[in-house]
């Protein structure tokens, strides 16, 4: 963590400067966080709710931030956990029982009015949705966000080796899904 970030965190924790510093924090990371969440939950309305909840959590708990990671990593970790918790809640409270979270996400994708892609992109998203949770996260962060494994390792608290394996398996599954779809 560099000096500038330490000073910024200091402002976040001080009562007088907190609001101003918090607004800067929101504006700096809102887009990156939003798209990270959106890729997990698919739906805009859910992503909006979760993004607000992430920042609310940061507002309430910034005094307890231990500064053992960067602010960015901390924010992304909260966003990831909030998104996954949201999906678990949706699965439990679904009107029609869902066996897999992918069932909920498939429905979400099909009904999303903000989906703007072509047929190939829709198929890719459908394939991604079918992946197990960890593989889906890793694939999105590596393929779309072009994140380094070391960065991902800090956020997901998983070793780089495990992340590389997850990415490899994710790609294979997506390929198989797309091939089956073509037949």
């Amino acid at each position: 963590m560099d000096l500038k970030e330490k000073e910024f965190i200091g402002n976040l924790k001080s009562a007088g400067n907190r609001e101003k510093a918090f607004k800067v924090l929101v504006e700096t990371y809102q887009e990156k966080l939003y798209w990270h969440i959106r890729k997990i939950v698919m739906n805009h309305d859910d992503a909006d709710d979760i993004l607000q909840n992430v920042y609310l959590k940061v507002w309430k708990n910034v005094d307890g931030f231990r500064e053992d990671s960067s602010l960015y990593t901390w924010l992304f970790r909260i966003a990831t956990n909030e998104s996954l918790s949201h999906l678990q809640r949706q699965r439990k409270h679904a009107v029609i029982p869902l066996n897999e979270i992918s069932d909920y996400l498939t429905g979400s994708l099909e009904s999303d009015i903000y989906f703007d892609g072509d047929e190939i992109q829709r198929k890719l998203q459908m394939a991604i949705v079918k992946l197990p949770e960890k593989q889906r996260l890793v694939f999105n962060m590596k393929y779309f966000d072009e994140m380094k494994y070391e960065e991902m390792s800090e956020i997901l608290q998983t070793s780089t080796g495990a992340l590389k394996a997850s990415y490899h398996f994710a790609v294979k599954k997506i390929e198989e899904f797309l091939k089956q779809d073509h037949k």
Binding site: L56, F144, Y167, V171
Partner: protein
Amino acid sequence: MKEKEEDIENRFGNLNKNLPFRIPESYFDTFSDRLMSRIKEIEHPSRKRTLYFYLKPALSLAASIILVILLVFVPIKKFFPTGKGYLARQKNQVDPVDSLSELSATLISCFSEGQFMTAVSEMDEFEPKTLSSDNLADYIAANYNDYDIISNN
């Protein structure tokens, strides 16, 4: 593994890496303001004091009293009637009589056995007449023939 990753990029290379999702117009422009409003609302919830706020205690008290009356006093009055005037109201429910015989019948229906015997003994017109042997013989001769007397023995 590195080589395979390059293959991956090639295989998916023809796919648009831009996410196929869009957002509402000006979403990010207004996000910060909406978030800060929500934080302020959570930390300092605004309470508008309406007339209902001031009347609430009185209305609650009135509702409680009405409830107690309905749950306690009404059933007690209905199932356990007591107090002055009850017997009078019951007696008032008896229909008015036209003749002396009807009066005595009415009295008999209201009194217990003990009360009736006492009343009868105090009333002159109901003094029992003593039965003499001549009266009895006259009665039997008038109402029974010889065959009835013999067969009953």
